[in-house]
Amino acid sequence: AQSVAQPEDQVNVAEGNPLTVKCTYSVSGNPYLFWYVQYPNRGLQFLLKYITGDNLVKGSYGFEAEFNKSQTSFHLKKPSALVSDSALYFCAVIKTGANNLFFGTGTRLTVIP
């Protein structure tokens, strides 16, 4: 089955420290990978995507993600966390031949002041 996995339900990080939210994928063919963020009582906001090209993808709000084919990972990173980054983060993949997003289970990020 084609999917993404987010192994951590919760990630806590101190403000100003680097943050990483993990995602691994399992797809046949080329992976089309995405990160979304959901703030409380809000919809999902697109952060960044990897379709092809450079393995390091830069996105909104200072976030970036590194596509690693050998480790089948697409971890979300930010050099210096802000309290306002606290939210629910979803990794997603588009299945080959389809166009809808298939989401991971989400990781709640808490940035501690």
Partner: protein, 114 residues
């Protein structure tokens, strides 16, 4: 200008009732979706329409019926509501089939069945 808008934002209703959620996008996208987010925050695709044509219909009870009057609108009608239907329903849109682009989401409709 809201790109994907859905109404209502909150919906509280009794078991057995019929209700609809409306969705509109002004992005000129060809494809629209309905996703369901349960109490554990899991997100699951329910339906997908491309230019008013149904292209995805996941395992969803037939009490749920999407309707797309044009490619800018995708409504969700739910008959005979059950307690287990309580969830947040998100509408989304994207450029369309064969184009691996991001989807844009509405703010969600929190449905509570009592």
């Amino acid at each position: 200008d809201t790109a994907v808008s859905q109404t209502p934002k909150y919906l509280v209703t009794q078991m057995g009732n019929d209700k609809s959620i409306k969705c509109e996008q002004n992005l000129g996208h060809d494809t629209m979706y309905w996703y369901k987010q349960d109490s554990k925050k899991f997100l699951k695709i329910m339906f997908s329409y491309n230019n008013k044509e149904l292209i995805i219909n996941e395992t969803v009870p037939n009490r749920f019926s999407p309707k797309s009057p044009d490619k800018a609108h995708l409504n969700l009608h739910i008959n005979s509501l059950e307690l287990g239907d309580s969830a947040v329903y998100f509408c989304a849109s994207s450029l369309g089939r064969g184009r691996y682009t991001e989807a844009f989401f509405g703010q969600g409709t929190r449905l509570t069945v009592v």
